[in-house]
Amino acid sequence: MIPIFGLLIGIIIGVMVKVPISPLMGRYLGIALLAALDSAFGGLRASIEKKFNDRLFIGGFVSNTLMAVFIVYLGDNLGVELYLAAVVAFGVRLFQNLAIIRRHIFQARHWE
């Protein structure tokens, strides 16, 4: 319940509060968000599998986000579009997690 409330409150505050973010920072924020989304879906999957570990989840969330931002920063400095690697990696994982969550839901409801 609390995670859903947190999400809703975050969205509401985000809509109401205008945060000045430069386009460059926007790029970093995008990658960080992708990493965060990946962690969130990973956590959802783990909780469905009854393997959810809060420390693992929070640690993964923070480290994934920071690593993603760092990779983009490194790529920008090296002149290599490294952020694509982060996008692909997190994107693939996101879809994998989604697929697994879907399977779990289907199994739980005996639709499969």
């Binding site: 995670p3 947190g6 999400l7 975050g10 809509v15 968000l33 965060a36 989840f57």
Partner: protein, 233 residues
């Protein structure tokens, strides 16, 4: 009750709150990013170089088109201005000549400077011919409008003599004859008082006296309605 309090306690445990905070951050970040992206897609400085090149070439093509259109429109405008000026001149000329015609035809009353002649004829020597000569003299000196005893003299006015009296368009003229003419006062005056001119000619008759006065503001009425045969206006 116990179930609910257990639920609340489990819902508010540390793990749940931490996850809630993380999802809060996630939601906030998502919305912020969406807003930033919505704004920045409009900003040129955030566009990639290739897009910028394309935008610039598009803009220059558009600029060319607009420039040529503006030139065309300018040419059109000049054309219209010229033609409207031409029209205005034509209309102005037409109006002026129309009003001149109306004045000459006596359709409009005229006020202006001119000569006021008072001709006394104690013995009744003067004929319509003499009056006509005077009027022709005034006309050839540029009189715009002439009246005799407040009867407008126009193109088809005629003078006649019956029983020793002068008639204009079958209207009897009472003595003295009051001849008014509007035009350039000095020119009219000179033409009348010219040596051996019309004044001398008329004054030669016994009992005839011509009294000339310059008047700054004469009024000459329009042709009387009854006299007009047809008025196309």
């Amino acid at each position: 009750m116990e179930k609910i309090s257990n639920y609340i306690r489990s819902a508010f445990n540390r793990r749940q709150i931490l996850v809630g905070i993380i999802t809060f951050i996630l939601g906030f970040g998502l919305v912020t990013q969406l807003k930033v992206q919505g704004e920045s897609s409009l900003r040129l400085s955030d566009q990639p170089e290739s897009d910028l090149t394309e935008i610039i070439s598009q803009q220059s093509v558009e600029l060319q088109a607009l420039r040529s259109e503006s030139t065309e429109l300018k040419v059109q405008l000049v054309g219209y201005e010229a033609s409207s000026e031409g029209n205005a001149t034509l209309v102005g000329d037409a109006k002026e000549s129309l009003s001149n015609m109306r004045t000459l035809l006596g359709y409009v009353a005229v006020t202006g400077p001119g000569l006021d002649l008072e001709i006394t004829d104690k013995k009744g020597f003067l004929t319509g011919f003499d009056i006509r000569q005077l009027i022709e003299e005034l006309r050839s000196s540029g009189a715009q409008a002439i009246s005799v005893n407040d009867v407008r003299v126009v193109v088809d006015s005629s003078f006649s003599r019956k029983n020793g009296r002068v008639y204009i368009d079958d209207q009897k003229l009472e003595l003295p004859y009051m001849v008014k003419s509007i035009g350039k006062t000095d020119v009219l005056y000179q033409s009348v008082v010219l040596p051996r001119g019309i004044k001398d000619k008329l004054s030669a008759f016994d009992g005839v006296n011509v009294n000339i006065q310059k008047n700054e503001s004469l009024y000459i009425p329009a042709v009387e309605e009854g006299i007009l045969v047809s008025d196309d206006q």
